[in-house]
């Protein structure tokens, strides 16, 4: 069974289903290009945009207060996502933030350290029509996530407490001149592999890391694959083989091949 078949089946389920809440809120509008022969009764559920940011939940507010007490003005910005605290700290306080998290907030457990490249990716296959249209089209202007960013690259990490069952996300901007942030290995030894991965995928260095070398990729590998300007070569060379089976992407006219419908 093809993917298109599956999604039709799922859709039939969606039609049969009664979701009272969704229906109450649903606004019936179709995205451009979604005008399909049978799919016009499906309402689009658009979550109402919040006019004001929700206040920080109690638990997250307590954590933030404790962090502010220790880190003072090293905290640049903070926010939350679904009640989950996100804090952006200054690069020079990055290791201190880890120490505070471990020693003062009982966050003994490291989930991960990773990075993000906020630059929008160049269009696959160039701007000419007929490129790979199967990849999702991302906005072309640069926007930053919760707690903002000063530059293109950020490192973010997640720590948790196994005893008190809380956790939060820490973010730090990467200075594009030095291209490095302090290493967390002296605080959380588990950061070792995560930082090696971030280094080879984004090219972000970690000061004080005991042995920075490739983790996944062969040692002679060049480039940093998770940067947005690193192309996914298989898509550049050949369009996605499943292209004829997929539905037309939003923003694109329902063409004659029309997702095989």
């Amino acid at each position: 069974m093809t993917d298109a078949g599956d999604s039709r089946e799922a859709e039939a389920q969606a039609e049969a289903g009664d979701s009272r809440e969704a229906e109450a809120k649903a606004e019936t509008e179709l995205p451009p290009g979604a005008g399909s022969p049978e799919g016009d009764e499906i309402p689009i559920v658009e979550p109402e945009p919040d006019p004001e940011p929700e206040p920080l939940p109690e638990e997250a507010a307590k954590l933030l207060a404790q962090l502010e007490k220790e880190l003072k003005d090293s905290i640049i910005e903070s926010g939350h996502t679904f009640g989950d605290l996100v804090v952006r700290v200054a690069p020079e306080a990055w290791r201190k933030a880890a120490e505070v998290a471990r020693d003062k907030l009982e966050c003994d457990y490291l989930s991960f350290v990773s990075g993000i490249d906020w630059m929008p990716a160049p269009k696959v296959g160039g701007d000419d029509a007929g490129g790979d249209t199967s990849s999702p089209v991302q906005p072309t202007e640069i926007t930053f996530g919760i707690a903002g960013s000063d530059g293109r690259f950020q490192v973010f990490a997640r720590v948790q407490s196994t005893a008190r069952h809380h956790g939060f996300t820490l973010k730090v901007d990467v200075d594009e001149d030095t291209f490095s942030v302090p290493s967390w290995v002296p605080v959380y030894p588990g950061a070792d592999w995560h930082e090696r991965e971030t280094w080879e995928m984004f090219g972000i260095g970690f000061d004080g890391h005991p042995g920075m070398r490739h983790l996944y990729l062969p040692f002679e590998f060049e480039g940093h694959p998770l940067r947005k300007d690193y192309p996914l070569l298989s898509r550049e060379i050949k369009p996605w083989p499943g292209l004829v089976d997929v539905e037309p992407m939003p923003g694109e006219e329902a063409s004659e091949e029309g997702g095989g419908e």
């Binding site: 389920q13 969704a22 991960f112 999702p136 926007t143 973010f156 196994t162 959380y188 588990g190 490739h214």
Partner: protein, 394 residues
């Protein structure tokens, strides 16, 4: 025992050093030289293509360096080129023994950003299938672990009993290993008729087979000698390395994301218990997984009793577009904590998706853990940590 994170040395290091020096003097007399032993990438005990380079002095490991990446498929890059429904087929293949459990946190992350709530029946069926994949993963472990320490019979029992559970998953989803059954907003289809009775029958078998393993393996003197006191992970060190799941519960840390994390699925409605063991050795890890298999079977029985009627799919748009935002969702998977940090910019696919897989962190403790153990214990430790290479390499 407290441990200095920087050097990884216990605080009685001085006394230990004296002992090692004494050993070294004997070694000089016996003229043993350092030797490098290469375990893997193809080795029956590594469950895939893990390579561990160990330096030996006699039979003791001086240092160990796991080499990973033989199976790196670049899923974090690929997620940026696919739409949300296409990504569930990818993440099925991260931890291929419990694929269904992989899908759940990703789908929840997308649902949370979209403000979609799956109907109660869908959440119940998701919980049942998650627990079934946990049972099938652990049944294989219970057999496999025996095999690694030299008992061949339990491996056959493990594969035999897991098959019943896999048949159930196949009957419900159509795939034994890669179900791709979750949709944003619910499930692909409802359970087939007669499935619930089958499931009850299989759960009885699961209880029996766990009892069988307990009689066969846990009481066995050789098994205990091979596993007790081998590969001890102190709770503090384990947590700092990000060791999670049954591995950290076997070190006495009472922490289970099904109970303590963000509320997800319907675990809050169930009556169940988190099992821990104070020892932190290979035996404790075996014992905890054995108890958790039973606990999961108990959960499935409760879930079957309480299964509500209704649809299995909420109303969602025909084309899935996730509003701008970011979210972190982590769940307790069979191998440990699995999480997705999802960044969306309002498109049909994620802007970035950080995949936090359990085995990656569980294995990153190996250089610390293997220091000073004997060669045969390496295999015991690798087996008892229970990792899947797809979950390390992503």
């Amino acid at each position: 025992m407290t441990v200095d994170f920087r050097s990884g040395l216990p605080d009685n290091a001085g006394a230990m050093l004296q002992k090692h020096l004494a050993d070294a003097r004997i070694n000089v007399e016996l003229e043993t030289e350092g030797m490098v032993l290469n375990i893997g990438p193809q080795h029956p005990a590594t469950h895939g293509t893990l390579r561990v380079v160990v330096k030996l002095d006699g039979e003791r490991v001086v240092s160990a360096d796991p080499v990973i990446g033989y199976m790196h498929r670049g899923y974090e890059k690929l997620t940026e080129f696919r739409t949300y429904p296409q990504i569930t087929t990818l993440i099925n293949r991260i931890d291929w023994l419990s694929s269904f459990a992989n899908e759940v946190p990703f789908i929840h992350a997308a649902e949370r950003l979209m403000g979609v709530q799956a109907p109660p029946r869908a959440e119940y069926i998701r919980t049942i299938l998650t627990e079934l994949s946990r049972i099938s993963t652990f049944l294989l472990f219970l057999g496999e672990m025996g095999l690694q320490v030299g008992a061949i019979t339990p491996a056959f029992y493990g594969f035999r009993d897991r098959e019943h559970v896999l048949n159930l998953i196949e009957a419900a989803t159509g795939g034994r290993f890669h179900p791709n059954f979750n949709r944003i907003g619910g499930l692909k289809v409802d359970l087939p008729s007669g499935w619930i009775d089958d499931c009850r029958r299989v759960m009885k078998k699961v209880f029996d087979s766990v009892d069988e393993f307990e009689e066969l393996v846990v009481g066995n003197e050789i098994f205990e000698v091979r596993t007790r006191g081998v590969g001890v992970i102190p709770p503090g060190v384990g947590a700092a390395y990000g060791v999670s799941g049954s591995n950290i519960r076997a070190s006495g840390v009472d922490w289970d994301l099904r109970r303590d994390g963000q509320p997800y699925l319907v675990y809050r409605d169930l009556d169940w218990k988190v099992w821990t063991h104070p020892d932190g050795d290979s035996f404790a890890r075996y014992w905890v997984r054995m108890q958790e298999t039973r606990e999961s079977a108990r959960m499935v029985v409760q879930l079957l009793d309480g299964l509500p009627a209704g649809p299995v799919m909420a109303k969602v748009p025909r084309i899935i577009k996730v509003p701008e935002g970011e979210v972190w969702v982590n769940t307790e998977n069979p191998l440990g904590e699995m999480g997705y940090y999802l960044f969306s910019k309002g498109a049909t696919g994620p802007f970035r998706c950080k995949i936090r897989s359990a085995s990656f962190s569980n294995v990153s403790i190996l250089p610390w853990l293997l220091k000073g153990v004997y060669v045969p214990d390496i295999i015991t430790i690798l087996a008892s940590l229970y990792f899947i290479l797809g979950d390390i390499d992503r």
